[in-house]
Each structure stands twice: as C-alpha cells, then as structure tokens.
Subunit: 254 residues, 2 copies
C-alpha cells in the first residue's frame, strides 16, 4: 500500500499568504514533518501528528517522511516560503533517488508558495523587476570559492542578487565577505535591502548603500537583496522610499 | 484626496494558488487595470470596473491606474504570477518616478504571488533547488547582446536558468538562439523543462535534453527552465520522472 506525500510551501509566514492549495493539503495530511517553527505555523487537529526536527536535518527528515508515506500514510513535509527554493523539495528528491524502489511509487505533490525574496521585494517596491538571481550563502553544501565566483558572475553581468541563508551562528563571516567581494565591482551607492520577516509582525525592512551595508543587520530570518547598478530609489516624503529595478536596461531602444 | 493602489499577483492561474491577501485586495478595489486575460481571472462584481489593455502597454496602464488612484479611487493593477517578477510592480514604480508629485502620496500595496518558475518547478520536482537565476528573454527592453552575456555568465557559473517571455510572434528567434548559445557551454544532456500553463487545465510540462530542446515547444504561456550540469533526472516507472538540482554542489564536504 502506498500513501501520499505533500511538500508544502507555507509562504513568508503570514497566514494571509498561504495559498488555498497549501491549506487544503495540510488539512488532508496525517503526519507533519518539518523544522519546528514552520510546523507550528499550522493549527494541527488532535488527529494530526507533529514530527518536528532541527533546521539542519533536511535529508533525514525527508527520509523519515518518505518511509511513513511508503507505509500508506498521508504525510506533509512543510517548508517556509516555497519548498523548491533552498528548501525541502530538493531534499525529498535526493532521498527518493538514494532510497528504496518503493519510494519512487509514492504519490508526491509539491505545493508552491511565495518565497522570501518575492515577499521582501513586494514590501519595498520592485527590486526584482529586471533579471535577477538567488544564491544561498550557506557554505555547508558548497565551497565558499564557488559562492564567490557566482557573486562576481552575477553582479558583473548586471543581475540583482537575492541572498538566502545570509548568516547564522555557525556561519558568521560569509555575508561580510560577500559584501566586500561585491564592493569591488558594484557602485558604492548600490541599494542593499535587508528584509527581515517580511509580512510578519516582527517585519523590518531596511535599505543601505552597499558601502554602508552592515552584515550585523541580518539574521537567519533575513533575505538580503543587492541591487544592480540600474536599481533606483524613489523618495516619497512621508511614505517609505521605494526601491526598484527598471524593466528596461541601458542600451535598449526605450 | 488620495486613494489606494494594489498591485496584485494572481499566481500561475489556478484559483487555488491565489493567496487570501490577493483575494482580499481584489475584493476591496473598485477599478481593475491589467492585461485582459489576467483581469478575466477575477469574478468582478457589478460595482467593480474592468479596464483591460494590451499586454505591451504596461507603462501607460500604470500611469492610468495611478491617475485614478490619485483622484481618490481604490485601484487594482493585476499581474499573473508575482507582480515583482517581469511584471507590473516595476512599471508602477517607473510611473511614480516619472509622474507628478501627487502620485508619490498614493497608498501603494504590492501583493506578492507564486511566480511561474516556482509553479513549473513544483510540478516536476525541484529544478530550482540550488542557486538559480531568472532572465526575461524579451529584447524589447534590453539589447540582445546583454541577454547573451547574462546567459553565458549564469550557465558558466553553474546557475539554473529560468527564462520568462521566451517567445512571441514578434520575437520568434530568440529562444532558439539562447539554446544555441548555451549548447556551447553546457552538457548536451542538461535537462530543459518547458512548463506551459502550470497548474491550469491546459498544463503541459515536458523535459528534453538541451541537445534536443526545440524552441517550437514554447509559447507565450511557457516558462523554460534550463538545468545546470548538476541537475538530475529520477525515473519513476509509471509516475512522471522528477527533475531536481541537489542542494549540495561538487566540492562540498557532503
């Protein structure tokens, strides 16, 4: 007998930004696997079981969830944001690839969500309005020199850069190093957005020029967006300034 | 008197993927500006007014919407997907920057949504599970050589690439040229995903190796995702194959 596994994106953390598809999948599931704070966003019923694990145990969590589903259960694996962006969908795929044949027969549904960079961008204007990239700054899973190479390639080609996992206790220096690297090739005035907990009660969205961007402004719940040389700031008097990247680029006919 | 403007992301096109925040904003607005097919996704009430315009009239649409809001009306500007990704949020910011001072005083709320690449990725596995970028292939707003430079920079640095606006009647050759360019530096086996209308009744998600990727498989409603050299395919017998990019990268300690 084969069960079902939903990999659910809960969005930025505001109940108002959870899609009906995600809510319905959560209502159908019996067992909930995930990082504790994400599972706690759901109001589980007494007949639903919470199986929380630590933030860094993604692969073992995916394996436990698949094992349960292969036994016939309806299982949810929950992610903040979108499960496909530096989150559980890839871990579940890795587990399926490495696991027993039965896991390939499990009915898998991935439910997308609003990922952090979109939520942060919406609160400040349209910094991702032109070509952009998303880089995880965690060097647990890839070497630092590769991260640096990607930062330089992206900034050099004019991409706006969204940084996920910018900083943690175990990774204190990486964000500062990333800013240093980028100061070598981007204008000092390039806007850097620190988007903490977008859409949640403790939201804090701050903008600094790259020359003054302080890594201490970021924490694990922050998505950092670094503009391109074309990113602009619109002052609006009493209203907060807008940061946006024009749709057109220098050299276009518009 | 100053009104309100919501820039609303309706997600991929499935009512099930519209956030409650977007639905509430739509319920509050009186005038709806947007590309016709997007506005038509909403069930407007008799007291709500539809002002549809052509796909390519983004700036004039944004100006008309701001003008209406500055008169005191509650206005919605609707986008498919997320309004911050190659959509109306940047056009509204451009209009605010260039427009009369009163437009800066308008109460602006941008409502994020599930953007196309996330919806396509969720239907096939986790191709965006590692660092990735999003590039609009439209050369209406930037020169083609810049697009080519970005494709090479991104693929060369190991990013997965999501292509928006891959093809249209007015831009028939660009996607084929992009594939050719990428064939010069990516393995022939690199998976290319054509994600047409993800989540909608006419959804069609197809995967080909880069060597056989045919631009004719794409249309205006397609988001094309091109893997990195690390993107993998998991065959699952009767179930559709999964495409995913591992969280870890060659050279990491895992």
């Amino acid at each position: 007998m084969t069960g079902k596994i939903f990999v659910i994106g809960l969005g930025p953390g505001n109940a108002d930004q959870i899609t009906p598809q995600a809510s319905r999948a959560a209502a159908e599931a019996e067992f909930f696997f995930g990082y504790g704070p994400y599972v706690d966003r759901l109001d589980l019923r007494p007949d639903q079981t919470r199986i929380a694990s630590d933030n860094r145990e993604e692969l073992s969590r995916a394996m436990a969830a698949l094992e349960k589903a292969a036994e016939g259960a309806k299982v949810a694996v929950v992610s903040g944001g979108d499960p496909g962006v530096f989150a559980m969908a890839a871990a579940v795929c890795e587990a399926i690839e490495a696991g027993p044949k039965e896991w390939r027969a499990v009915d898998l549904t991935i439910v997308p969500g609003v990922t952090a960079m979109l939520a942060v961008a919406a609160r400040i204007g349209a910094p991702l309005g032109h070509d952009f990239c998303a880089i995880s700054l965690s060097d647990n899973l890839k070497p630092w020199d590769l991260i640096e190479k990607r930062l330089l390639a992206a900034a050099g080609a004019g991409f706006v850069i969204a940084l996920y996992n910018p900083i943690s206790k175990a990774r204190p220096w990486q964000l500062g190093r990333a800013f240093e690297t980028l100061r070598g090739i981007l204008p000092a005035t390039t806007p850097v957005i620190f988007g903490h907990a977008a859409g949640r009660p403790d939201e804090r969205i701050e903008v600094f020029p790259l020359s003054k961007a302080d890594p201490e402004k970021a924490d694990m719940a922050t998505c950092v967006i670094i503009g391109s040389p074309e990113t602009k700031i619109i002052e609006r008097g009493e209203r907060p300034a807008l940061v946006y990247t024009p749709r057109f680029s220098a050299g276009s006919s518009q």
